[in-house]
């Protein structure tokens, strides 16, 4: 089976600004494609083209083999969109929002109501289904927004920065729900500014910058390119920073970086083994810590590795 959606050589200009300068994106049914990039990289423009909201200036995009420009009407039957800004109606209840979309998708009233109830249950909103969305918390609104894009059992779902503005707890919860969105065999295109999020959700990641693809591959491949993970340690007693630096250097064999009261070191490939070893040695040396983490490189670090520039410069 071929791709659920596919974009080739997408170009889009707004006046003098080139938002997309030839972007390739594709995902197979049942998989999640993460599109990673800083603000202004062209992520939203690509989503809007694939969702038939914008026409590309050049290049083609297809959803289930149908062209998003020529067969826009048919493509709309196959897609679900959750935009960057909450695309639900605040003055309506959750049920009313979902039933309205179901009925606009030509479901019979009873069918739309049943589908709405099913999704509200799945997205854990049943207890608040009769409340106006304006009374919802940010996390609940996001969940409703995700549910709304699934009403018509779409073959392709677009989620444009679905966790922006959510606190970490809510983000985990949204991730869990997003992971389940491909269960029916649909493909998901997810844009994000966080490598961590793409890593947690995507089967494949495409990194875009200035409207062009600068890297693509599985999360593991990308992390390898970006220089693996980083161990950071903040000792309780700043006086023991030097000892920490020695331990981290011994564990990873790489140059350590000390910044104020914290020591960091990159670990190649799979960092789990090195991390465990570092924890053991810190413990053996009796060094108390206030922070100890193994983290993925940030988008900024990935960018720096790939382009030699920081994301702030990209956005400027």
């Amino acid at each position: 089976m071929s791709y659920a959606f596919q974009a080739n050589g997408l170009v889009k200009r707004f006046g003098k600004t080139t938002a997309l300068a030839g972007v390739e994106l594709a995902a197979r049914p049942g998989t999640v494609l993460g599109v990673l990039g800083p603000n202004g990289a062209g992520k939203t423009t690509a989503v809007r083209i694939l969702a038939t909201l914008l026409r590309p200036d050049a290049g083609t995009a297809e959803v289930c083999g149908l062209d998003v420009v020529r067969d826009a009407a048919k493509v709309r039957e196959l897609i679900g969109l959750t935009g960057q800004y909450a695309s639900v109606d605040e003055d309506l209840t959750a049920t009313e929002n979902l039933v309205l979309i179901g009925r606009l998708l030509d479901m019979r009233k009873a069918e739309a109501q049943a589908r709405a109830a099913e999704l509200l249950e799945r997205f854990e909103l049943t207890d608040d289904a009769g409340r106006r969305v304006s009374t919802y918390s940010g996390g609940m609104r996001r969940r409703l927004d995700l549910a709304a894009s699934m009403i018509g059992r779409p073959a392709v779902i677009y989620l444009d920065e679905p966790t922006t503005g959510l606190d970490p707890g809510r983000r985990e919860e949204a991730w869990r729900l997003i992971r389940s969105m491909t269960d029916g065999g649909g493909a998901v295109l997810l844009t994000t500014q966080y490598l961590e999020e793409a890593d947690a959700l995507a089967d494949e990641i495409t990194v875009i910058d200035h409207g062009t693809v600068i890297a693509s591959g599985t999360p593991a491949e990308l992390k390898r390119i970006a220089g693996g993970q980083t161990i950071s340690v903040r000792p309780r007693d700043p006086g023991r920073l030097a000892e920490v630096a020695v331990i981290l250097h011994a564990v990873s064999g790489r140059e350590v970086e000390s910044r104020r009261d914290m020591v960091s070191v990159p670990v190649g490939g799979d960092g789990d083994g090195a991390f465990t070893e570092a924890v053991r040695r810190l413990d053996a040396a009796g060094i108390g810590v206030t922070e100890l983490s193994l983290r993925l490189p940030s988008l900024d670090e990935v960018f720096f590795t790939l382009t030699g520039r920081h994301t702030e410069e990209v956005a400027a």
Binding site: L53, C64, L78, A86
Partner: protein, 274 residues
Amino acid sequence: MSSDVILESGIGVRGAERPRRRYRLVRHSLLLAGRSLTKTRRSPGVLSDALFMPIIFLLLFVYLFGGAVSGSTHAYLQYVFPGVLVMTMLLAGMLATGLSINTDIKKGVFDRFRSLPIGRSAPLVGLVLGDVIRYVVAAVVLFATGYLMGFRVQTDVPSALAAAGLATALGFAMGWINVLIGVLIREEVVVQTVAFLGIFPLAFGTNMVVPTDTMPGWLQAWVKVNPVSDAVDAARGLLVGGPVAHPAAMTLLWSAGFLAVFAPLAVSAYRRRS
């Protein structure tokens, strides 16, 4: 062809599962009009302009100009009421509709609508239809206030309904100008300003408040071509007597013209808006 392939992979596809139902544009527009009505019911405050505007206009015009123009407020009420009816209907829809469209587009709800397999015009038509409630509220309040103040329809009920209908037709048609403004302009405040600036010469540059022959020549020229004057003449004829056929026909023609020009423009601007 491709939908068969998709079905084999076990993905439910809307188009293939669900047979096409008929009258889709009408049904979708009505569904969206229902949404708009629900919103209005939830926050009836948005109707307050439609509620108070007619009362304020009637009181203001009758007691402010009545003595000067007609010698008595009672006689003037008979003269000015049909004009206030037309102006109220123009303002009732025009001021609110462009604004609600602008807000909707900004909030991202319209993005979702635009990604659905519904007619491109359905969301706009839905909003405009949903606003018809404003005309009804405004007309009822206006007639009630007029009656309390002493206005009496000199003809009959069907004629009075026809007068309200004509005024609504023109208001509805000209409302599309505002829909266009609401789609084109990004700032809410600017939408309101532009709407006001556009409406005032149309709504007040008429024979509504004072007879045309009291005006300077250039203004008479404007008043004579202003379609709102035709509507005022027609309403006057239908409510207190006088010629009806010509002004009524002109009003309908103008309404059809506004609708034919501005509704497609608004829909195409909405389609292109990114």
